[in-house]
Symmetry: C2
Subunit: 415 residues, 2 copies
C-alpha cells in the first residue's frame, strides 16, 4: 500500500470536542492515537458552553478540571425568567448542595477554551494530530480498519472513532438518516463586561423564556466577557424559504420581550446565523472496527446544554469499555475492539437518546404561549431551589449510561 | 293601569337556581317577593351538580344544608386522571382538612334536587311563584320598576332581579353582548349504580383529562345513581357547520382514551346535546331598579363547577347589601334599592369575572396535547393532597366578593 500515510492503534476522524476527548481517553488507555481533522488548524467556533457536573466530573477524572476552572466561571445560579414579563420562574443554586450532590461544579467556559484544554492534553499525552485531512471513506470490517482521504492517502488502524459531528459522513455506514431542522435559529455573541453591564447579569446563567424564542446570558473568562445566545423560530423557514432567520426576524421575534432582553440583542454578532439541527436517536453506532462518538452518534438540540457534555461522557465510557477488553495486562488485544465498541454503544445509546428526546421537549416547553405558558410558569414556580427531581437522571452520579467517576481498571499513561 | 297583574316589593324574573336563591334571600330580608317563570312548571333539566364549600356555606346560612346532605353525596376525593393513560395526576381529599378549612362540605347533588330544595324553601318562606310568564320588557328608572309580559300584563315592583340565565333578555339593558360559543359540546347521563359498576367509581368525583375532551363521573342520590358528563371539542363546529357535536363526534373524540372512559360513554343520554357557552365578563349588572343575578350577570364555562355556586353567592351578597340599606329598622326604604344593587354589583363583579376567566383557562388546561400536556401532567403531579394554594381564592372564607357566613344585620323571617 504505497499511499499508506500512517498506521496506528486508533484513528480518530474529527478534531472537535468529541474527537479530542475520545483521542485523549484512548491514549490514556495506552493506545497509539492519530487524530485527523479536515480544517487547516484546530479550533472552535462559537461562544460559551455550559459544563454541567456530569461533564466536569469527566474533566476531573482526567485531571483537567483545574484548568477549566482557571479560565471558566462558576455561576452562582441557573435562573429562568419569563421573557415577556421578566418574572423569575425558578432558580437552581449551583454551588453548595448542588455541587456536593453531583460531585463536581457547574462551569461555564468559552468553547475555544475547553477545546484548547483538550487539545493541549492530547498533545501532552502524545496523540498525533494531523490537519487538512478529509476522510471520504472507511473500511471497517477487516482485521485492520482503513480510512481513505480526499488526497488519496490511507490511514490504517485497529479501530476508527468517527467524530465528524452533526453532518457526519461516516454515520452513513450505520444509518441513512439526515439532520432534522428545528426551524429555530441562533445568534451568539460575547462582549466585554464593562461598568455599564447590569451587575445582576454577572453571576448567573439566566434564561429568558418567550413564545417561540429564548435568550441565554452568562459571564465568561472570569467575568471579563458576557456571553449571549438568542434563539428564535424563523417564520421564513416555516414558509419554506431558502434564506431564513435573518436579522430582521431576530428583532421581530423579541419585540414583546422585556427591555433587558431587547437590550441584550445588541450583544449578538449578527454575521453568523446558526440554524439549530439535531437528528433522531439511532440504536447502532458501531460497524465492525468503527464507532461513532459525540454529535456524529447523537446530535442534540442545545436546550439541555449537553452536546459537549455527552461527548465527554462518551469518551469516558469508551475509555472504560476498551480498558476492560482491548488494553489487557498482556498488552493490546486488537481483536477485542468490536466487543469494546459494542459495550460502549450499549452502555450509552439509551442515555443519549433520552437526552436527545428530552432536549426537544424541554426546548418546546421554553417556547410555549397561551395556556401552555401559564402551565409552564406555574410548574416552574412550584419548584423549589435544590429540588433535584428533574436533574438527577442527567447530572447524578452512577446513573445508567453515565461514566464512572474513576476509570475502570485504569492504566493511565503518566503525562 | 288596568293590566296590572301584581304589585310587590321585589319581582324576580326567572325560576332557575339564581332566581330561586335571589327570591329566597330577599324574602328572608322581609320583602314581598314575586317570582315569574316562563316555563309552565318549575323544574331543572340536566344531571349532577357540584356544590363546593363556597356554595354549601350559603345553604348552611339559609338552613338548607341538611336537606342537601340528605339527598346528595359527599365524595371522598376529587381525582384528576389523564384520559389517555389513566394515570392519576392529582387528588384532593374533600373531607377532613378541606372541609374544616372551608367551613362546609363538598356535596354533589342532582340539579333537580337542589332546585327542589330552593323551590320548597321559597314556598315555605312565602315567595309568590307564577308560571307561564314571559317578561319581554322592563322599565327600571322610575320610582317603581315595571315588567311587561307577552300576554300584556304588568308586574310592578320596587326592584327587579333579572335571573333569566345565559340567554338573558334583560341583560340587553346593560350590555350589548351575546353568548360565546366554546366549540365544546357536552353529553350527560345518570344511570343506576348496579353490582357491575366499578367500585372505584362510587366514592369520588373523577375527572379524566384528554386532548380536546374530558369526562367527569360521580355518584348521586346517596350512591344510587352514577352521573357522567362527557365534554369534547366539535370538529364540525370548527368547520362552521350548523349541525355540530353529534354522537358520531362524541365517539370519535374519545377513541384514544382508556377503556374506563370509553365504557363510561355508554352511560350518556345521547338525545340531548349541550353546547357549552359563556360570555365575557361585564362590569355593570345594574340599571336603576334592576339587577342581573346568576348566569344573566356572569355566565361561565362549567370547568370550575361554579355556575350554581356563584348564583348562591350572588343571592347571599345581595341579601346582605339590601339588608344594610333597604330593610331598615324603620321598615323598607324602597329608595335605597339602587344603592343596594350597586353595592351588590361592586362587591361581586371582580370575583365572578375571575371565576369566568379562570374557568376558561382551567378548561383549556384540561384539553391540551403535546408538550402542554406534559407540562400540565407534571404540574398536577407536583401538587400534593391538601395543598390549597389553587383553591383558597374560590372556596376560602372571607375572600373578597364572597358572602359572609352569617347574614349581615339579618332580620330573618321565621319560616
Amino acid at each position: 500500500m504505497s499511499n499508506l500515510k500512517a498506521s496506528t492503534d486508533v484513528l480518530v476522524v474529527g478534531g472537535g470536542m468529541a474527537g479530542l476527548a475520545g483521542a485523549l481517553a484512548l491514549r490514556e488507555n495506552g493506545a497509539d492515537v492519530t487524530l485527523v481533522e479536515v480544517a487547516p488548524a484546530f479550533g472552535e467556533v462559537g461562544a460559551g458552553l455550559q459544563m454541567a457536573p456530569n461533564a466536569s466530573r469527566v474533566l476531573k477524572r482526567w485531571g483537567l478540571l483545574e484548568k477549566a476552572l482557571e479560565i471558566g466561571v462558576q455561576p452562582k445560579h441557573l435562573v429562568f425568567r419569563d421573557a415577556i414579563t421578566g418574572e423569575e420562574l425558578t432558580r437552581q443554586t449551583v454551588g453548595g448542595e448542588f455541587e456536593e450532590r453531583y460531585g463536581a461544579p457547574y462551569v461555564v467556559i468559552h468553547r475555544s477554551d475547553l477545546h484548547r484544554i483538550l487539545l493541549e492534553a492530547c498533545q501532552e499525552a502524545g496523540v498525533t494530530l494531523v490537519n487538512d485531512v478529509l476522510v471520504q471513506k472507511v473500511e471497517t470490517d477487516g482485521d485492520r480498519a482503513r480510512a481513505y482521504t480526499a488526497k488519496g492517502e490511507v490511514f490504517e488502524a485497529d479501530a476508527i472513532l468517527a467524530a465528524d459531528g452533526l453532518k457526519s459522513t461516516l454515520r452513513a455506514i450505520v444509518a441513512s438518516d439526515g439532520p432534522v431542522n428545528s426551524a429555530y435559529v441562533a445568534y451568539r455573541g460575547t462582549v466585554p463586561i464593562t461598568e455599564e453591564t447590569p451587575a445582576a447579569d454577572l453571576e448567573d446563567v439566566i434564561v429568558y423564556l418567550g413564545p417561540n424564542c429564548h435568550l441565554v446570558q452568562y459571564p465568561l473568562r472570569k467575568g471579563q466577557l458576557l456571553n449571549t445566545v438568542a434563539v428564535f423560530k424563523s417564520p421564513s423557514f416555516e414558509r419554506g424559504e431558502e434564506q431564513y432567520g435573518g436579522v430582521d426576524e431576530l428583532q421581530a421575534a423579541y419585540k414583546d420581550c422585556v427591555p433587558a432582553v431587547q437590550e441584550a440583542l445588541k450583544n449578538l454578532a449578527t454575521g453568523i446565523r446558526w440554524p439549530m439541527y439535531d437528528r433522531n436517536p439511532i440504536e447502532t453506532w458501531v460497524s465492525g472496527r468503527m464507532a461513532l462518538i459525540g454529535d456524529a452518534a447523537h446530535p442534540m438540540l442545545q436546550y439541555l446544554a449537553q452536546g459537549a457534555c455527552q461527548a465527554l461522557e462518551d469518551a469516558a465510557v469508551l475509555q472504560d469499555a476498551a480498558s476492560n477488553r482491548v488494553f489487557t495486562a498482556e498488552g493490546i488485544d486488537a481483536g477485542a475492539w468490536e466487543d469494546a465498541f459494542r459495550e460502549f454503544n450499549e452502555t450509552r445509546a439509551a442515555r443519549t437518546a433520552r437526552v436527545q428526546r428530552t432536549a426537544r421537549i424541554w426546548g418546546e416547553s421554553w417556547h410555549v404561549d397561551g395556556v401552555a405558558r401559564v402551565l409552564r410558569n406555574m410548574l416552574f414556580k412550584s419548584r423549589g431551589d435544590n429540588n433535584f427531581q428533574y436533574n438527577d437522571w442527567l447530572y447524578g452520579r452512577n446513573e445508567p449510561g453515565a461514566p464512572a467517576e474513576v476509570p475502570a481498571g485504569a492504566k493511565l499513561v503518566e503525562a
